[in-house]
């Protein structure tokens, strides 16, 4: 990073506005594809320098929202500003100020890593003298410098994702959008990608907006918004969200689950649901509740598990379903559709 950009930003008074503004500000944003309302009126703000996670099952409206913020889809209603710039009226300026890493790879496999980055730099009109040093710095940061001359086609999935992140950072964006940055990667590669994202947060002055449907990954974010069926159902720090749930999660299997759910309601006043094939409910203190359960349920219990609240439970408590179950539903259809529209 260098200070050479100052002349450019000072040339335009309106940029002062974008510098002071929050990184992202969204009001009443909606998006419909014909009959389907993919995003149904969402509001949030992301502060500068924050790592903000957008969490939800596939089809919840994450990708549609990110597409609107990246100027790739036109909102049906509402308003969204990125770096203080309106995503509809100031589309080009928004584009110059954001970096994008898509779910699906958008690299040219027949070019080398370096050639991919150079093309990006040219398309984004980077000042020529800055291309080489900046390229070296992002490639080194993502540990791809040694492979810069290799064809991208020879890269592994994790390396490609890293290269995309490097490319997204190349033109020094103010906001970096990562749409499912770790999707389709093995657990080890996932955690390594996360270590890069965390590093990036420390080393680069960039706001990160990411979507994920991995609950464990949301823990890395400063704040998360949970989106379900096109609406934000919760928005806070991971800690606060977990605290808001406050209950332990108990999952049991019994000889007759529907009866067990009914019995839990009648005898303990607990509202239980089927989730992941087990009777699931929350209680203040799981360890103390389980002995009572065995004594009073009146049904043979096959298995019991008790878990401290996690983001999964947060999700569960706000949406009434676990993220895996939500995904198994018909929502995939909507996501595929949104994807098609965004082509």
């Amino acid at each position: 990073m260098s200070a050479t950009s100052l002349t450019e930003s000072n040339g335009r008074p309106s940029d002062q506005r974008s510098i002071d503004a929050p990184a992202i500000s969204v009001r009443g944003l909606t998006k419909s594809y014909g009959e389907i309302e993919a995003v149904r009126g969402i509001d949030f703000e992301v502060a500068r320098g924050e790592t903000f996670g957008f969490l939800g099952p596939n089809g919840a409206g994450k990708s549609t929202t990110i597409s609107m913020l990246c100027t790739l889809a036109r909102p049906t209603g509402g308003k969204a500003e990125v770096a203080g710039l309106d995503v509809v009226r100031e589309r080009d300026r928004v584009r110059r100020n954001i970096g994008l890493v898509f779910q699906d790879t958008t690299l040219d496999n027949y070019l080398s890593a370096e050639q991919n980055l150079r093309l990006h730099a040219e398309l984004y009109g980077m000042p020529r003298e800055k291309i080489a040093p900046r390229m070296q710095s992002v490639l080194q940061m993502l540990q791809l410098w040694d492979r810069r001359e290799s064809l991208v086609g020879t890269f592994s999935g994790g390396m490609k994702r890293r290269l995309e992140i490097a490319r997204g950072l190349l033109h020094s964006p103010r906001v970096l959008f990562l749409d499912e940055p770790t999707i389709g990667l093995d657990p080890q590669t996932r955690s390594s990608i996360w270590s890069y994202i965390t590093k990036l947060e420390d080393e680069q002055d960039v706001t990160i907006f990411l979507t994920t449907h991995y609950m464990d990954e949301a823990e890395y974010c400063d704040r998360i918004a949970i989106i379900d069926r096109g609406k934000i159902v919760a928005l806070d720090t991971p800690e606060a969200l977990k605290a808001s749930v406050g209950k332990d999660r108990v999952q049991i299997t019994t000889e007759d689950d529907p009866t067990a759910i009914a019995a839990l309601g009648e005898r303990f006043g607990i509202e239980a649901q089927m989730a992941e094939g087990e009777v699931t409910f929350g209680v203040a203190s799981g360890e103390q509740f389980v002995p009572r359960l065995f004594a009073e349920l009146g049904l043979a219990i096959r298995s019991v598990s008790v878990a401290r609240p996690s983001l999964d439970d947060v999700f569960m408590s706000y949406t009434g379903t676990t993220i895996r179950d939500a995904e198994a539903g018909s929502n995939d259809m909507m996501r595929n559709m949104a994807k098609m529209m965004n082509r």
Partner: protein
């Protein structure tokens, strides 16, 4: 679209202290003609890099012209030698084969945008803060360059079929090839905007290119045709690329005017001999119209 075209280089005075933390911001100057030209050049360069990597493609796309020229040309020459007035049949079809080489390469170049879409790279270009027209233009110029290069290889074998170049002839042929390559690539881009599946795209291209080639007069003189074929021939845009090329080649052959008139009679419209320049202009205009449609198509996609 409506961004300022130039950026006053105001010295860093006010706000510089404040902005010391804002280094991530506004590295990228506003869109200017220069930045668009840079984008066109970048896209063009990518096409060249990819083409140079793909040696097999260069080789494969030469096979067809060579088959036509040396196998079909040689085979048929025994049959048609009386009617060609001593001119080698290979020489006769050579201009048509030049067009063919260029056409197929240009078509494959345009097809690359379908691949780009399939493998996601199109998205990287579409989200860049440049005009879509720059992307499309870069692609077209790239495809035209690559296809012309292929044409130049076929030009180089001219002496083997009795065509000896002067500088003037070489330049004339080169210019016509470039024009044709550009038009065909634009045509392919226009189709690629709509047809997003590779198989459909290739099928469509085959369906368009083969009839165009056969109707164009690449393999036969365009006078004395039966009326139905004459009409189709005059409607075929490729006719207007093959004809000036053949006339240019035959103008440099050491043959009698009678033979020249028989083999390279030139295209006529209701008896009027269409001048070569008009023919070239037609190819250019058709190309530009298709380019404009392609740009409009790509700009309208979100």
């Amino acid at each position: 679209m409506a961004t300022k075209s130039t950026l006053p280089p105001t010295p860093a005075t006010a706000g510089s202290g404040k902005a010391s933390h804002e280094v991530a911001a506004q590295h990228i100057p506003a869109r200017t003609l220069r930045s668009e030209l840079r984008a066109i050049k970048a896209v063009w360069r990518r096409e060249l890099i990819r083409f140079s990597r793909d040696r097999l493609r260069i080789l494969v796309s030469l096979i067809q012209p060579f088959l036509f020229l040396f196998v079909l040309g040689t085979g048929l020459s025994t049959l048609v030698s009386t009617s060609t007035h001593g001119v080698n049949f290979r020489t006769f079809i050579y201009p048509g084969i030049l067009c063919m080489a260029v056409m197929f390469t240009a078509m494959f170049s345009a097809a690359s945008i379908v691949w780009d879409r399939e493998f996601g790279f199109l998205r990287e270009m579409m989200v860049a803060p440049v005009r879509r027209s720059s992307i499309v233009l870069g692609k077209c110029v790239g495809g035209a360059t690559v296809a012309t290069f292929q044409g130049v290889i076929v030009m180089a074998i001219g002496p083997l079929v009795g065509v000896h170049y002067t500088l003037g002839l070489a330049l004339e042929i080169f210019a016509l090839l470039l024009l044709l390559a550009f038009s065909i690539t634009s045509f392919g881009m226009m189709a690629a905007a709509r047809v997003t599946q590779m198989q459909s795209f290739m099928a469509l291209m085959q369906m368009a290119i083969m009839p165009m080639f056969f109707l164009s007069g690449a393999l036969f003189p365009v006078n004395k045709l039966p009326p139905w074929l004459a009409v189709l021939n005059r409607l075929d845009p490729l006719t207007y690329a093959v004809d000036p090329m053949r006339r240019a080649v035959f103008a440099h052959l050491d043959i009698s005017p009678v033979v020249r008139q028989a083999l390279a009679p030139g295209v006529t419209w209701w008896g009027w001999h269409v001048p070569g320049l008009v023919e070239a202009a037609m190819v250019a205009i058709i190309g530009l119209v298709m380019l404009a449609i392609a740009i409009a198509e790509f700009s309208s996609v979100e």
